[in-house]
């Protein structure tokens, strides 16, 4: 645990006093303190290209009254600085009066260990492993033109001090290992990218030569793309593979079910609570409680324990994801979804691990049922327009399906759909649910936070594929 009041003229008592004075007439708010250490080591072009270590320390003071949020942050933890922030908040909220909500649920359950992954593995051994990754991947043949491999690790300590002196803390490890391969054959170049990670030590992911599987997978994706032909253009049936393709769920409906957009009535879902938004058999949850997963949190960034929130049950919209502010204004409770990228950012309702649960069909049955369509296995990123509901995601590994059989690989293409209606087009839900490998970062309002996704294979009856072949 970090001691934030060491080496400063600000004592814990002073801080508590300033917090209580500032938040006394507000509905909610807290002082959020954060100390994070992070490292990034990159091998590229046969060399260690960079090794960087960062230390970030700061606080954010937040006061909330009614719908108004006043926020001030700084990396100078001192009496003067906190006083200035407090004055800034008071001048924004001026005459507004609220009643401070002291209630916050407690938890003893931790979803990851209190470890510092950066210090658990020596820099020397990380450098050596990266070199080994490079040699191993390049040994796959002369077509390998470029290999980029990286480690990134983070150790983040947070402390939340609420009015009245209540204190909540969390220590969050996070690592990621990534390999990108570029191949060239007959003048054609293609890349393949794969990575793994989560809230554990590096070695939990890399042991037993597991790292080789990451290299193999990046190489496999690039190799397949070398043989790809241009993608078709137009509406067709799409079978999505299990695991990472669940970013479809994340983009298509996840963002639209975040509390803030629904309170503000700017989400295409805001008036659909209790209604059918997906085919029968489709159940979607957002779960922050999976052990060691990238999107998991013991407590969210307001101190609320996370939970498994049922968003859609058998096709019916059941819940939105809420932070404390939006929950209060919508007369419900926080689902432990209040998150922020760092002390530099305000809290927003965000996703954690968003998952579609198993149905009863096999992937084989789905493919067999398609006369003409595509089978999408691996994806790059995605994006959504919350208001119109239109969303996209980019395939990085996909195949054509002809007469119930998987055909040749097709080039990466963007798929586009309409969030509120896409889940009604899901006609078959698979029995092979898989979690993603632990690499997702979700962006919203300029803030990136680590998230996870999961799903079984699904068959979508109609989606637009953005290829070039008419």
């Amino acid at each position: 645990m970090s001691d934030f009041f060491n080496k400063t003229d600000l004592s814990r008592n002073d801080a508590e006093k300033i917090i209580s004075e500032t938040l006394n007439n507000c509905d909610d708010g807290e002082l959020y303190l954060e100390n994070s250490k992070s490292e990034s080591i990159v091998l590229d072009d046969d060399k260690i290209k960079s090794s960087t270590y960062s230390s970030d320390l700061g606080y954010g003071l937040r006061a909330v009254t009614g719908e108004v949020v006043a926020y001030s942050h700084s990396n100078e933890i001192s009496r003067n600085s906190l006083k200035q922030s407090a004055d800034n908040l008071s001048s924004t909220l001026k005459s507004r009066k609220g009643v401070y909500n002291h209630e916050i649920p407690k938890t003893n359950e931790k979803f990851y260990k209190n470890i510092n992954p950066i210090e658990e593995k020596s820099l020397q051994s990380k450098l050596e492993l990266l070199k080994e990754v490079n040699t191993y991947t390049r040994a796959k043949g002369g077509i390998v033109q470029q290999v980029t491999a990286s480690f990134s690790g983070e150790h983040k300590s947070i402390e939340i001090i609420r009015s009245g002196g209540e204190v909540l803390t969390d220590v969050r490890p996070l690592i990621r290992f990534n390999v990108s391969v570029m191949l060239e054959k007959n003048g054609k170049k293609e890349t393949g990218v794969y990575g793994i990670g989560g809230r554990q030590s590096y070695d939990e992911y890399l042991k037993d030569d597991n790292w080789k599987k990451v290299c193999d997978e990046a190489f496999r994706i690039a190799s397949i793309n070398l043989e790809s032909k241009p993608a078709p253009a137009g509406e067709m049936k799409v079978v999505l593979g299990p695991g990472w393709p669940a970013i479809l769920i994340h983009e298509a409906i996840g963002h639209g079910l975040e509390g803030d957009f629904n309170r503000k009535k700017t989400s295409a879902f805001h008036n659909l609570m209790g209604q059918r938004v997906a085919s029968e058999g489709v159940t979607i949850v957002d779960d922050g409680t999976l052990h060691n997963r990238r999107g998991s949190l013991t407590i969210d960034d307001e101190g609320t324990p996370t939970e498994k929130t049922v968003l859609i049950e058998n096709g019916i919209l059941k819940n939105f994801m809420q932070d404390r502010l939006n929950a209060r204004l919508m007369n419900t409770r926080s689902t432990g979804s209040g998150r922020r990228e760092s002390y530099r950012h305000v809290v927003l309702p965000r996703m954690r691990n968003t998952m579609m649960l198993n149905g009863k069909y096999s992937q084989e049955e789905m493919i067999k049922s398609v006369d003409k369509g595509i089978f999408a296995v691996s994806f790059g990123g995605g994006q959504v327009d919350i208001t119109s509901g239109k969303f996209v995601f980019n395939c990085t590994e996909a195949y054509e399906i002809i007469n119930g059989k998987i055909g040749v690989p097709i080039k990466g293409a963007t798929l586009i759909g309409d969030g509120p209606s896409i889940l009604k087009e899901v006609s078959l839900v698979g029995n092979n649910m898989m979690l993603d490998p632990g690499i997702g970062t979700c962006g919203k309002a300029g803030q990136g936070v680590p998230v996870g996704v999961a799903q079984p294979s699904i068959l979508i009856d109609k989606m637009t594929v953005g290829g070039t072949q008419l």
């Binding site: 072009d45 060399k47 260690i48 090794s51 960087t52 270590y53 960062s54 970030d56 320390l57 108004v68 949020v69 006043a70 926020y71 001030s72 942050h73 700084s74 990396n75 100078e76 600085s81 922030s85 800034n88 908040l89 001048s91 020397q124 450098l127 470029q146 570029m182 054609k188 170049k189 890349t191 253009a233 137009g234 503000k264 009535k265 700017t266 295409a268 530099r344 305000v346 990123g381 994006q383 327009d385 208001t387 119109s388 239109k390 969303f391 996209v392 995601f393 980019n394 080039k411 990466g412 293409a413 963007t414 586009i416 309409d418 637009t464 594929v465 953005g466 290829g467 070039t468 008419l470």
Partner: protein, 439 residues
Amino acid sequence: MVKDQDYLKKTASFCIDLAKKLGATDATAAVMHSISETVNFRNKKLDESDRSDSLGVGLTTYIGTKKSSISSSNLNEDNIKTLIERCIETTKITPEDELNSLPDKDLLATKINDLNLYDDDHIENNEKIEYLKEAEEAALEKKEIINTETGFTESKSNFILASSDGFLNGYKSSSFSASCVAVAKNANNNMERDYEFTSTRHLHDMLRPNQIGSLAAKKTVQKLNPQKIESEKICIIFDRRISKGILSVLASAISASSIARGTSFLKDKINEEIFSSSINIYDKPNIVKGLGSRYFDDEGVKTKELKLVDQGVLKHYLVDTYYGKKLKSKSNGRSGGTSNLYFEKGSISYKNLLKLNQRTLYITETIGHGSNLVTGDYSVGATGFMVENGVFKYPVSEITIAGNFNDMFKNITLADDLEFKYSTNAPTMLIEGMVVAGK
């Protein structure tokens, strides 16, 4: 108040000196401080205020050709000392790389001609609120608008770049920006959203609030009741919001790192015609009050104007010291990328560009990250309008557009409506031969 040059210089010099004392043969340090204040408004009510005070240092140490970096926002002297020690220890065990070095001394910026990048004006939060109210009132004049969100940010920053070669320079800059997002609803409860904004170095150069409010509302209402069109090959016009993205793709593809690493579709295309012969592209760092203007690059190397593309021919890569060595060329002051990058304006008017083809798809927004810089393949989601004989007929959505940059670059026609609204700017752009996927 943002910290002054003396304070930043002292901190930077402290870091460099300590690094040298601890065994670094060379070192560079950057110290930055910024303060920004934002007010957000929603439906004519205060929504959020945000004050940000951000101080940070970044340090790179060299021992011969070994290199490592640290960064920190905790400028406590003990903490800095511990970090620099750590950085030196890391540098020692990092492998040699003969390309690692400080830039050539004779390339470093020496004199600075004031480009007027800093405005000392301060706008109080209550004045920001007045501005935002006016913007929202203008937007809400359109009856279809059901929701407005606006924001105003003032930001001031100062930085110093220092190196053990004696470089010690930096400057203040400011930015003022305001935006208005509007949401409109039709009779079937379908909603659309659009926006307008203004962003300038100086406060009094900002657009008036009613201008951004009315434009945001107009753009939003136009998008209501969109249709999905059939898949087809069709001429596409990129609105200026989107056309500048072509330059961003070009900038990434001609960065020395992409070229040297062989991961660019423009590798080995130097001195070749990559655009049609009517196209000229400049990167001009010394525009007065320019949003992308700078006096030197991230390494302290002086930046001068480059004509990157001359009559369609690629003339320069964007070169920094490290990859310059690999490509056997000198840095041209582009560590950290381009400055004010723009297409020279075309010769046809906006109106005539719309009429050039009988049917044109006019794109106002794209979503997704569908640019593959290795292959040049491009595929993104899009919204826009169907234009027939120069007239906007109906909004279009839930489609994708796709092509390959190699072909797209050669089929560009530019209008004469270049304006400097961003750091990267392009006129309205027509591209022939792209494929739309719809129904």
